[in-house]
């Protein structure tokens, strides 16, 4: 069975899960670094953010990374579903009494649920911003003779309760998405290292601590930016 294809074996599927997941962690760092510019964007009318957005959508190396990101998201999703279906099949009759919380953490037992919430958030998130930037109608703004899409105004308007009556529920979904992402990473970050066999008495604790810090810091900062944009415009 495993000889037929690279992803036939259970371990290969886990390697793919780990590699795509850890790559997406790198994507989160980059995305967060970009978003942090929104905290100071009001001071220059969003110029720095808009120029950054243009760079991110046109620079060839970033293009390659973005396609890798789309691929990773889709692969992580499909691979995760396949693994979950196999796991369900591996236990056709459930226990009448199960005390799973005594031996494993909640997030590690609910990666599929957490991933699904993140996916729902991701779809709405991409529709709201990615789709607008790439295919929607975004006003152009002129910076020293260079015409740039004014993505900042789109983002600011989206989180402005006077411009968007759905701003508050959208922020609620955003926070829920970040909450799920945090718990997904709480297990996923260090689990990825274990899946590819990167475990060592000297480094495993460091990886685990790094993963926990990452899983708290990234969603909290993403959420803080959104809450900041809402409060400063409310």
């Amino acid at each position: 069975m495993a000889q037929n294809g690279i992803l036939q074996s259970s371990l290969a599927k886990k390697y793919a899960m780990a590699v795509t997941g850890l790559f997406l962690c790198l994507f989160l760092v980059g995305h967060l670094a970009g978003n942090l510019q929104l905290l100071t964007a009001a001071s220059d009318g969003g110029r720095q953010f808009n120029e950054y957005a243009k760079f991110m959508t046109t620079f060839p190396a970033v293009k390659v990374l973005s396609y890798l990101t789309y691929f990773s998201v889709l692969f992580h999703l499909v691979d995760g579903v396949v693994l979950s279906l196999q796991n369900r099949k591996a236990r056709p009759v459930r226990y009448a009494m199960e005390r799973a919380s005594t031996n494993a953490g909640w997030s590690s037992r609910n990666m599929m649920l957490l991933g699904t919430i993140v996916l729902v958030f991701l779809v709405t998130h991409m529709q709201n911003f990615w789709w607008q930037m790439h295919f929607g109608e975004v006003a152009m703004i002129d910076y020293d003779g260079e015409s740039v899409k004014d993505l900042y105004t789109v983002v600011a308007a989206f989180f402005n309760p006077e411009m968007n009556r759905w701003a508050l529920p959208a922020i609620g979904l955003y926070l829920l998405g970040q909450f799920a992402l945090g718990f997904h990473l709480w297990h996923g970050f260090s689990s990825g290292f274990q899946s590819v066999g990167l475990r060592h008495p000297r480094y495993t604790n460091i990886i685990s601590c790094l993963g926990k810090a990452f899983s708290v810091l990234v969603p909290v900062l993403f959420s803080a930016i959104v809450v900041f944009m809402y409060i400063t415009q409310a």
Binding site: S10, L11, Q86, N87, R91, M111, Q194, G197
Partner: protein
């Protein structure tokens, strides 16, 4: 002590199973869980009923034969303890105790609480050995130096008794802890090196064929393992399998 037992009863592999309730009385705290089951079966036989089938052998905690998912945990509530070494003093008088068989597609129920764990045997047959053609004039074992740390890790991996608690407790019914222990006990020693890469491939492939689930790294297996087999073994197997696929050995 008196208990109310809720036990999975299933006449045969193809029959429909169900939970049934049995009261047991006159149990002492010093009885092992299996002895409590013996008392129940004695009562059932006296009443002309079918006794509950369950696996057991050495009753010394070393054979890996006893199983049972007790009150939602493999081998019951105590850590690093097989069911035969679990005593009734670990339960409260009057308690209701759920007793179920290991639940996994790869471990079909034979009858009641006894499951067929021969999937583990087939995994061992696929590569859990060292092919040494004995000359009848074996070298002194001490002629091959083994670092103490490696010997300890190999020994710890080899303490796996193959009971299947890892599979039973894993939310995915994955056999990764068992297979990784059996891979590691050879991978850590000089004698295991010649077949190291082919062994891990064959054993993982057989594991997949048997229909066990995939590893989510929840760590539940390590917690519930009566022998305390470490997740280090799973990481080692992940490394070796990756290496074997990359190098094509």
């Amino acid at each position: 002590m008196d208990f109310t037992l809720k036990i999975w009863r299933q006449e045969g592999p193809q029959e429909q199973g169900r939970m049934e309730t049995y009261p047991v009385t006159g149990i002492t705290g010093d009885m092992s869980f299996l002895e409590m089951m013996d008392v129940l079966n004695d009562q059932l036989i006296r009443d002309g009923q079918d006794p509950v089938a369950f696996d057991h052998d050495c009753r010394e905690g070393i054979c890996g034969m006893c199983s049972m998912f007790i009150n939602g945990e493999a081998h019951g509530p105590n850590r690093k303890t097989t069911t035969c070494q679990l005593h009734m003093r670990s339960f409260k008088d009057g308690e209701t105790i759920y007793i179920e068989p290991w639940r996994a597609a790869a471990f079909p129920v034979v009858k009641d609480l006894a499951v067929d764990r021969s999937a583990f045997d087939r995994i061992i047959q696929s590569g859990g050995y060292v092919s040494v053609n004995s000359s009848g004039n074996p070298l002194d074992a001490n002629a091959i130096p083994v670092p103490k740390a490696d010997a300890d890790d190999a020994f710890n991996a080899a303490t796996c008794i193959g009971c299947g608690a890892c599979v039973a407790t894993c939310k995915n019914a994955s056999a990764m802890l068992f297979v990784s222990a059996k891979v590691s006990q050879f991978a850590l020693l000089p004698q295991g090196q010649p077949e190291r890469m082919s062994r891990v491939q064959r054993m993982v492939d057989q594991m997949d064929k048997e229909g066990f689930g995939n590893c989510t790294n929840t760590g539940a297996c390590e917690v519930e393992c009566p022998k305390g087999i470490s997740l280090d073994n799973i990481a080692r197997m992940n490394r070796d399998y990756l290496k074997s696929k990359v190098t094509g050995e």
